[in-house]
């Protein structure tokens, strides 16, 4: 077996050194009746060529986004990632390294995490960020728990226009943690009334902007009301590129900002692994979940970086930890920070502008299709279509015509009674031909 360096002779010699009569003797503590179970349903080892064929065949059964006009978003976005990014994250010293508990031989990881934290802080307009979470949805759920710790209250208000998967993730964790959630109803065209749900028991208000329907939300009045009630504002985003063009949550009074970082540096990969971004104010840092890289000096006075404030964490604090998170999204965070470093301010602004321009063009193009209505007045790179009939069927018919046209809102929230809405995303990858193909196919489907 190509991955196993020991030879039969090695094994014999090693057993002799141990003084064990056989390998089985080393497994003597396993009840004999349970040892070496049959695995007849699993095949024997395969050559590399054979594995490539098996997995290649499965891969070929999927329709890659890059092979068709593609407008699917709703929390994950197809952007172009420079080849440099994937090359660099595959370097052995990044790919095969461990969590940087031994800082002397992990300065590479620690420095990029420190840079990542700073970048996330700048993007969100917040003071401090952690070294990544699993993804946007779990970051949102953790943010709620953190708000409870800060406010010592246990009731979260979740806006209706938050991504339904995020809502469910928050609801699930809250349910088992015995915390309360007030879940508002979705308002596709925007302008939902969140303020009236905030009261003196509210620990936090969770608001997404751009929201799941694509609407850009003014966070300032919500922040004001929340703060007046002693609650925190948790601002969520699912498309981080939007922060290159629109007002950051930090500038609007958010106390915790969480979101999905996949858009920068990371491929779609059917939903994961992604990278959760988590930022907050300096004063709450000790209530924050997740890893933190911090600056210090070494024994000879040189600047260096270490994981810090680990007394918040499970491996030290055990049941009193701020979170049980341990492994997070190191390599995805690396991809994020490399891509963002390549972009820089100039590149990110141009990218965001192009995304918005493409969305505007697409919205105009689709709004011209008879029977179709664009719901949003203000949006970034995603908007909502109202179509005659069931959105699910429209999307299936578009797929049959080779256009992946977006996400039926009803797929995310089947019980919401909003069956005629499609969430449509546009990014820099879309061409004029793509948009024309979509409009033409939609016209045919609705005819």
């Amino acid at each position: 077996m190509r991955y196993l360096p020991l030879t039969p002779e090695d094994r014999t010699e090693m057993l002799a050194r141990i003084g064990a009569p056989s390998v089985d003797a080393l497994f003597a503590d396993i009840p004999a009746a349970k040892l070496d179970p049959a695995l007849a349903d699993l095949p024997a080892h395969k050559t590399e060529l054979s594995v490539e064929r098996t997995l290649g065949a499965l891969s070929a059964q999927n329709v890659p986004a890059g092979s068709v006009p593609f407008f699917v978003g709703a929390g994950a976005y197809r952007h172009h990632v420079p080849a440099t990014v994937d090359h660099l994250i595959q370097r052995s010293e990044f790919l095969t390294s461990y969590t940087p508990y031994q800082p002397e031989i992990a300065q590479g990881t620690l420095q990029y995490l420190f840079e990542f934290q700073t970048q996330v802080g700048e993007l969100t307009g917040m003071e401090v960020a952690n070294a990544s979470m699993y993804d946007g949805s779990t970051a949102a759920a953790e943010a709620v728990l953190m708000a409870h710790r800060v406010t010592k209250r246990r009731k979260a208000v979740v806006a209706g226009n938050v991504h339904p998967h995020y809502r469910e993730t928050i609801a699930t964790l809250s349910l088992y943690a015995d915390d309360a959630v007030v879940a508002l109803s979705p308002v596709p065209q925007g302008g939902e009334d969140i303020l009236s749900a905030i009261d003196g028991e509210t620990s936090c208000v969770v608001v997404q902007s751009p929201d799941v329907f694509g609407n850009i939300v003014d966070l300032k009045p919500i922040a004001e009301k929340a703060h007046a009630a002693g609650a925190l504002l948790i601002a969520v985003f699912t498309e981080v590129v939007s922060l290159g063009l629109i007002e950051p949550p930090g500038a609007q009074g958010a106390d915790i900002v969480v979101g999905e970082g996949q858009s920068i540096g990371n491929p779609l990969t059917f939903g994961g692994p992604y990278v959760g971004l988590f930022a907050t104010r300096q004063k709450y840092v000790r209530q924050m979940p997740g890893r933190l890289a911090g600056e210090t000096v070494d024994a000879s006075g040189k600047r260096g970086f270490v994981l810090t404030l680990s007394t918040r964490e499970q491996h030290i604090r055990r049941e009193k930890a701020t979170s049980n998170i341990c492994t997070n999204s190191g390599l995805c965070a690396l991809a994020f920070t490399i891509h963002l470093t390549l972009l820089g301010e100039t590149g990110l602004r141009k990218l965001a502008r192009l995304n918005h321009a493409n969305a505007c063009k697409l919205a105009d193009k689709l709004a011209a299709v008879p029977g179709v209505q664009v719901l949003n007045s203000a949006f970034f790179n995603e908007f909502t279509l109202r179509v005659p009939g069931k959105a699910v069927d429209v999307i299936e018919k578009l797929a049959a015509k080779g256009v992946l046209g977006g996400v039926p809102y009803a797929r995310l929230a089947p019980k919401a009674g909003l069956d005629d809405l499609i969430l449509v995303a546009a990014t820099e990858i879309n061409t004029d031909e793509d948009r024309a193909a979509y409009a033409a196919a939609l016209k045919e489907v609705l005819a």
Binding site: Y3, R11, V51, G75, Q102, Q111, Y112, F114, E319
Partner: protein
């Protein structure tokens, strides 16, 4: 040569990405344009390449040398797996594409599940948890959901004192009170102690097996039976699955839920701290409570059940995260499993255990071995008794190992032995490599006993950095770069 921060070497007017001009158009941002600068530095592509290549060279990885981290199983990461994960049919598909366009992706998850179930003898897989700790959370939620469904209110979770920190943290996160079970003298859990603690308040026992002392809990079946008899569930921490993969099915030992770290046992790369993937296998009793999404087969192909309460997920505990789990990791793990096959996985476990016992046998005369009367599993545990009188600590040995060209072993864990050093060689090492490592540790042991203090206290001497001041970092945390303020003008 020191490498500056991107904030020190980059400039906001430089970019390493060419982007098409958006042309003239009327923005529809509703007045929410960003006004302030972002303050994000850019680097041209050649500069960025160098920055990250140089950073990488300050890191140590499996590809650099043996990585003896106990409990964290750092084994060879085949590049075949990376190649497979990048196939466009896996890397370039969106989680919310029509299900008809992702049948291969669903089939892969289904096949991965089939392998995991066969290897564990369990009933169902919750595949969405994103890492081991997230899997624990999922498993413990399933247990809580089951108790709720059964109308039971139980608020205590038993955890042995040798447990990983995630275990008590997870239990506490969902409102359980944690009660510790002490280890007996031989390093394993005493069934009698478990039985004594099993009140009707107890919801579950969380147990790592092989345990964190590197021993197989030989009374596990008796313990499981007692747990079940008391109406509680048995949660197994799967961190040490690598020792028993293909050698025993945990379902046959009475386990109700176990998370599997695909980034340990199934070799998806650790990546400097993730991403991982922590699918949870569930027993028949807990299977109905698996979270959404689920994959079910019908005549037309594979279907995703994405909402609670739908057919196929009637009793689902809820949702662990957006979308459908760590696909990229699933592909890598599947490639690893296919490559090994049933025979190769069993061989891998045997080689891992053999190598650990070999290290213990070769170092037992110069270092002290607690619980040495039982065979080790895939980890060799030492304590610091052998350092008595040398003035050196476990940490000093660990840092000195860096100068020998190795990553340190796991230290001060498990907590149940003093100054623990936990060494896991995995199955990826040749005998020559093990012998070199053993030689290095023997040499250090002799040096320690011979009083060569500076070799240890000043270590590492040959790393990109000397020992770092962690206290300083924690006392006044500097968690981000801040633009240096211009010095005030000197008075004229």
């Amino acid at each position: 040569l020191e490498e500056g921060l991107i904030f020190e070497i980059g400039r906001t007017d430089v970019t390493g990405v060419d982007i098409e001009d958006a042309g003239d158009f009327t923005p529809r941002l509703g007045g929410h344009e960003r006004k302030a600068d972002l303050g994000l530095p850019g680097l041209a592509e050649p500069e960025a390449m160098r920055h990250y290549v140089r950073l990488s060279r300050m890191n140590y990885g499996i590809d650099s040398g043996l990585f003896p981290l106990g409990s964290c199983t750092m084994k060879h990461n085949p590049r075949l797996n990376e190649k497979m994960a990048r196939l466009p049919g896996f890397a370039d598909v969106h989680p919310l594409q029509p299900v008809s366009t992702v049948q291969g992706a669903l089939a892969l998850i289904k096949e991965l599940s089939r392998w995991l179930l066969s290897l564990t003898g369990m009933e169902a897989v919750a595949f969405t948890p994103k890492a081991g700790a997230h899997g624990e959370l999922c498993g413990m939620m399933a247990i809580k959901a089951a108790h709720i469904a059964n109308g039971q209110k139980r608020h205590i979770v038993l955890v042995p004192e040798s447990a990983h920190g995630t275990n008590p943290a997870t239990a506490a996160l969902i409102g359980y009170e944690v009660k510790s079970i002490p280890a007996r003298a031989d390093g394993t859990v005493d069934p009698a102690a478990v039985k004594a603690a099993l009140t009707p308040e107890v919801a579950a026992l969380m147990l790592t097996n092989p345990n964190t002392c590197g021993l197989f809990e030989r009374d596990v079946v008796e313990i499981a039976e007692a747990v079940h008899a008391a109406g509680a569930y048995f949660y197994a921490d799967g961190a040490n699955f690598n020792a028993i993969l293909g050698k025993v099915k945990v379902g046959e030992l009475g386990v109700d839920a176990m998370h599997i770290n695909l980034h340990k046992t199934f070799s998806t790369p650790h990546g400097g701290g993730g991403p991982g993937a922590g699918p949870v296998v569930l027993s028949k009793a807990l299977a109905p409570f698996a979270p959404v999404p689920a994959i079910v087969a019908d005549g037309a192909g594979l279907k995703l059940v994405e909402d609670e309460g739908e057919a196929g997920a009637v009793q689902a505990l809820g949702r662990m995260s957006a979308f459908h789990g760590q696909m990229g990791m699933f592909v890598r793990a599947m490639a690893w499993m296919l490559s090994h096959g049933a025979d190769g996985m069993k061989q891998a476990s045997e080689d891992a255990v053999l190598s650990a016992n070999y290290i213990r046998a070769c170092l037992g005369d110069v270092m002290s071995v607690p619980f040495g009367e039982r065979p080790a599993m895939h980890e060799a545990l030492f304590d610091d008794a052998w350092l008595e009188g040398t003035g050196l600590s476990t940490l000093d040995i660990a840092k000195a190992l860096i100068d020998e060209g190795y990553h340190p072993m796991t230290v001060y864990f498990p907590l149940v032995v003093h100054g623990a050093m936990l060494i896991e060689p995995t199955e990826s090492e040749s005998k020559a490599s093990l012998d070199l490592f053993i030689g290095a540790l023997r040499d250090l042991a002799f040096a320690a006993k011979a009083g060569e203090k500076e070799r240890f206290l000043g270590a590492p001497h040959y790393a990109p950095r000397r020992r770092l001041d962690e206290t300083r970092a924690a006392r006044a945390p500097v968690l981000r770069w801040v633009k240096p303020q211009p010095l005030p003008e000197a008075a004229e």
